[in-house]
């Protein structure tokens, strides 16, 4: 289906795309013309490595924009070393384990990546990144360095983990641990940066860091698990697998790739649903985390990937296409999600919408039928404790839980967003009306 017809069948998404591209004003536009040479190059590198992520970072509050840009580029550099199969293993191990020490240097770069390594420019021009890293406040530098050290060591550990490389992920615990190194650590770092900036309460990090599964950890794990479920086919083609054996072995007595066989589709789909159930276990924490963010651009930065993830999770749920190829949410859906996730209540509505979609398509015959319903119900219950006012008998005040207090605080910022959204809607309507007149008038004459 071509793009035009695709848009035509989803008018709400088309409207969202137009508003997003033409009418929405960034909160903190980046003035690219006034950037220093080094900073300009850093933003170019950001664009090269991830255009969509770059767009979100550029709209961040100035206090955090450069910090997160540098954090992202440093981690991308680490990824580039880890991904490069042409690098000698010993060299790679040393680079990964010592990468945090490179951040202490005034100058360092690396041109040893293979010529086809996609993001090698990040390492070739690492000098620019170092310069801007040292321009950051010391507290920010410290966080970036600590995360880099832990992630580098984690990556190195996996490279020499023979069992992991031969058999993939074994237990659910291993699965969570792997996702921690790949994505959870990013949440650890970002949370500290956000707290240092004063955009979230200290408790978001201090009260959580000793928990078995901190809220910020779930933010990373939810995204990563969604990607792992979606990328089954792609990963198998690359000779990798990240689905935990503890889950998939319930549905296949031979090997993970057997789900591609025509007579194993049903089992493969049931396995997908079991993995989705596991991922949904993080949603309560995601909503709690988002309730704590009170700076608007930072909120959007955190919320956008999460609503994309729940939409993707709904897409892969009970979907046999996952077993044979790539599945992606439509561009229009992305635009719609970005626009409607600018408030906490908007995020909650999005999560609720997709949870209901999942439940609607959940076959009664699924082995996890009741468990998935109960997990969705737990999330619904949490949402009702976040917004209890409409459901209480007359005269009864809501329980003043910590979460409720945070939601009330967050609601103030949500209310500030409403006139902006209304303004965008009416601008769209005016333009639409004008276009209608232009199109229809000639037909009448």
């Amino acid at each position: 289906m071509g793009k035009v017809t695709d848009w035509a069948f989803h008018p709400l998404e088309l409207k969202s795309a137009i508003i997003l591209k033409c009418l929405r004003q960034p909160l903190f536009p980046l003035a690219e013309s006034s950037l220093s040479v080094t900073k300009k190059r850093c933003y170019e590198l950001l664009n090269l490595t991830s255009r969509s992520f770059a767009a979100v970072i550029k709209e961040l509050h100035p206090e955090l924009r450069d910090v997160i840009m540098i954090f992202y580029l440093v981690l991308r550099a680490l990824d580039t070393i880890e991904d490069d199969m042409t690098l000698d293993t010993k060299l790679k191990m040393n680079l990964l384990r010592e990468f945090d020490q490179k951040l202490d240097l005034q100058e360092w770069s690396f041109d040893g990546n293979g010529p086809d390594e996609k993001d090698r420019a990040v390492l070739v021009d690492f000098n620019y990144i170092l310069y801007e890293y040292h321009a950051l406040k010391p507290e920010y530098q410290k966080v970036i360095k600590e995360v880099t050290k832990e992630m580098g060591n984690g990556m190195a550990d996996y490279i020499i983990d023979e069992n992991f490389n031969l058999n993939g992920v074994e237990t659910i615990k291993d699965y969570d641990k792997y996702c921690h190194y790949v994505a959870g650590l990013v949440g650890v770092g970002l949370t500290q940066l956000i707290v240092i900036a004063g955009f979230a309460p200290k408790s978001l990090y201090e009260d959580e860091k000793d928990a078995e599964l901190p809220l910020y950890e779930s933010m990373g794990l939810f995204l990563q698990k969604t990607n792992i479920i979606r990328d089954y086919s792609e990963d198998l083609d690359d000779g990798r697998s990240f689905w935990p054996k503890e889950i998939w072995s319930k549905y296949s007595s031979t090997k993970l790739s057997s789900f591609r066989e025509p007579d194993q589709t049903q089992k493969g789909v049931e396995c997908i649903n079991d993995l989705v159930l596991n991922a949904l276990g993080h949603v309560e924490d995601v909503l709690k985390y988002l309730s704590c963010i009170h700076e608007q651009s930072t909120f959007q930065f955190c919320a956008i990937p999460q609503v994309m993830a729940i939409a993707t999770l709904a897409l892969v749920f009970n979907n046999p296409k996952v077993l044979h190829g790539n599945v992606k949410i439509r561009k229009g859906t992305t635009c719609y999600l970005i626009l409607h996730s600018r408030t906490l209540s908007g995020c909650v509505n999005i999560f609720e919408y997709y949870l209901r979609d999942i439940r609607k398509r959940l076959p009664v015959s699924d082995p996890n039928y009741l468990k998935i319903n109960i997990q969705a119900a737990k999330i619904d219950k949490l949402i009702e404790t976040m917004y209890p006012d409409d459901n209480l008998p007359k005269g009864l005040k809501p329980l003043d839980t910590e979460l409720y207090s945070k939601v009330k605080e967050r609601t103030k910022y949500d209310e500030a967003m409403e006139p902006i959204q209304t303004s965008e809607e009416s601008k769209f309507f005016s333009i639409f009306l004008a276009l209608l007149v232009v199109v229809v008038l000639p037909l009448l004459s």
Partner: protein, 349 residues
Amino acid sequence: MSEISSVLLIGGSGFLGLHLIQQFYELSPRPSIHVFDVRPLPEKLSNQFTFKLDDIQVHIGDLTSFEDVQKAIKVSGANVVVHSASPMHGQNKEIYDLVNVKGTRNVIDVCKNTNVNILVYTSSAGVIFNGQDVHNADERWPIPEVPMDAYNETKFTAEDMVLKSNDPENGFLTVALRPAGIFGPGDRQLVPGLRAVAKLGQSKFQLGDNNNLFDWTYAGNVADSHVLAAQRLLDPATAKEVSGEAFFITNDTPTYFWSLARTVWKADGHIDKNVIVLKRPVAILAGYLSEFFSKLLGKEPGLTPFRVKIVCASRYHNIAKAKKLLGYEPRVDIEEGIKRTLAWMDEDL
């Protein structure tokens, strides 16, 4: 005194009563267990229970008779009385008044006159329900001014009497437990009712959009909450904060009404391919029509507006208070509870 030395289970021959026997039986050291009821224990016990019938002493009598109840208490030497006797739903007001109100008043009077220390009353989560949605209700929720029905009205009257008779200074402590949607082996209403619906071919209909949350509670967990309440009342360190209080008791895993129903049907080997969804207003209209035509034909209507409202309403509860003050946690989950219930039904006792 810190142990349950002897317990009298009023209503112990009933559905919940058997689970109460089981839970008290499992205590160590095991208390002396006595049952007071209008009927004896069943001759044949379900495999779901492990207690020995010979170990339980039964007293047959009239709940509203002071002499009958007093005799049972004296013979048992009970320091704990659990009162779970209650008529089933669907009966007339006179029965409810007699058992729930007059009977409970009698129990309180006898306990006070016979130096019983602890009275645990089985109330109902329905005491706060009036047909409106119940979202995450806790014990602060008000009692409706207009009761839903005679059953819930009399349950609340009884609960209120029990809690108001709490008298720590004179060594008489009371508590009321409000379980929601009790099911399990011995259940004659919930799971068997759903099974009957499937057999009639009505499981292909869904009333409402299945977004309403419902609490079910496994009977063994409800019984466990009674044991915990009794233990907390006997412990001077915890008695003060527990006595005179009501507690909601659930499985703490509310889920959507029809998803629960389908789980029962599925466990029974029944899965509907195509489900016909009737929106709430349409279903209520169908209920009125069904009621109307059933009256014309002199038959009992299966579908009524009342039943539609019941299955379309959210009814779930916040049990934080029971968790905190009683140390309650549901030990048997819903899926396991359904499995045990169906296993009991298949025993065909």
